[in-house]
């Protein structure tokens, strides 16, 4: 058997072992099943209480919020960092402000988000935006600062200057770092999601599980947690693939 197949089999065995252990503990009766349900029971009950269509609806809404916040964070992050890295004075002005705000955890903005944007959609998207914005910005900025000067000189000897040099040499050279920032940003956007949806939401995965807690439906909570994990895993893989293809096409760099 080739090693890849062997690894896949072992991995499957690991998943089964984990589920088996969970099932065993749940059935042993150490803790009540209503507090610690067995995995398949939890999924079945959870799905009975939240039909697949409803669940899909929550996933869809959450993904929309993440996508919106992430897109805004990525655009602004890349834009500011490229401009700040390229135009020195602009960079000198913006950088310290960014450095002052960056250490504040995204969730700590929630109260101000409510004050500024109320309890509706914009405040949720704003918090997710912050989660994505800072990693994209710092990674892009780092990439801009570390461009190999030889590359820039090579571009200049070929007659490039100004915005053309930026567009044709500097930004392509920074793409690997931008890609890294985007992946970290996407992960953080997901990490922030639940907390963002704590803000008086009536839909979304965060709402689903917080609401289930109030109703005491542990099965729904577990279902929700697993769905959030799966959604993150799947979308992160997709993003990684898209970025890898994009990088291969447009530069020599590769994802770390």
């Amino acid at each position: 058997m080739n090693p890849r197949a062997a690894n896949a089999l072992l991995g499957a065995a690991g998943i089964l072992l984990t589920l088996g252990a969970w099932e065993l503990v749940a059935r042993s009766g150490i803790v009540s099943q209503s507090v610690f349900p067995a995995p398949f029971h939890a999924l079945a009950t959870g799905l009975a209480k939240v039909p697949l269509a409803d669940l899909g609806g929550h996933v869809w809404i959450s993904l929309q919020r993440i996508a919106l916040g992430f897109a805004a964070g990525a655009l602004l992050g890349v834009g500011l960092a490229v401009a700040g890295g390229w135009y020195r004075t602009f960079g000198n002005l913006v950088r310290p402000v960014v450095e002052l705000l960056r250490p504040i955890p995204p969730l700590a903005w929630i109260p101000m988000a409510i004050v500024w944007f109320g309890l509706g959609e914009p405040s949720k998207v704003f918090v997710i935006f912050l989660g994505a914005f800072f990693p994209v910005l710092t990674n892009t900025w780092k990439g801009m600062a570390n461009i190999d000067p030889t590359l820039l000189r090579a571009g200049q000897t070929m007659g490039l200057s100004g915005p053309e040099l930026l567009l044709k040499v500097a930004i392509p050279a920074t793409l690997p770092d931008i890609a890294t920032g985007l992946r970290i940003g996407w992960g953080l956007a997901f990490g922030v999601l639940v907390a963002a949806e704590l803000i008086a939401a009536e839909s979304g995965l965060g709402y689903l599980i917080m609401n289930a807690r109030q109703l005491g439906e542990v099965e729904v909570i577990i279902l929700g947690i697993l769905v959030i994990g799966a959604a993150n895993l799947v979308t992160d893989n997709l993003l990684a693939r898209v970025l890898a293809r994009w990088l291969n096409r447009s530069s020599e760099g590769s994802l770390p």
Partner: protein, 266 residues
Amino acid sequence: MGAAATRHAAVLQGAGFIVSLLLLWELASALGWLRPHSFPPPSRIAQGAWELAVRGFPEGVRVWTHTLVTLRRIFSGFALAMLAAIPLGLLIGRSPTLDALTNPVITFARSVATLSLLPLVIVWFGTGELSKTLLIAYGCFWVMLSNVIAGVKYVDPVLVRAARTMDTPGREIFTHIVLPAALPRIFAGARTALGVGFMVIVGAEMIGTIEGLGALIMEARTFYRTDVTIVGMMLLGVMGVLFALGMEALERRLLPWHRGLSEVRR
């Protein structure tokens, strides 16, 4: 213009810009262009900070308490995660079989947003300290675990070869070659984990407590004291910076050889 002079000018520009922003903000509030509730001017924030230090918010819970409580929660969760993740990671990283066996489970567990566990730990352990510690520990644990595994797994094979040509016994290869070679990665893991813990704490403190910086900023908003909220946010930021600096200093102390490399790469 020399490099030092350039940096000097940059700092001046940046500082000047920030000061003028603050002045503008103060002025705009005084002229009534900005609502003080949404954008409390710097003078109000300073007042809030003073009040927080002297009287406390809520009354009697002063800033030191909030900060210490938050610190204690982060550290207990972080320490718990380290204690579990380092030995386990070393074990898994050494064994390709164990690695293949655990890889999908670890990948999935790491993808589960830590805060999504909040409702579950509340059901299981209530809203007390244990829940917060466990939540932080969960977030730190998986980040740390995957970094320790990677550190051990991706040791440069030529180093192991060199040791083997010197007849180094297997146990010593682990303690003298693999472990030190993995340390930078393990350290990077600890740094990331601390960042995760720092993010989770704010969410965890939003529920079931009035102590801690996360609780402070939420409470203050409910009482229309956004000036105090902003003080809390600033404290969280300062704490984050201090953590990062502390970890950096620690790494420089413990891994002096690694500094040379990281400085070259910059």
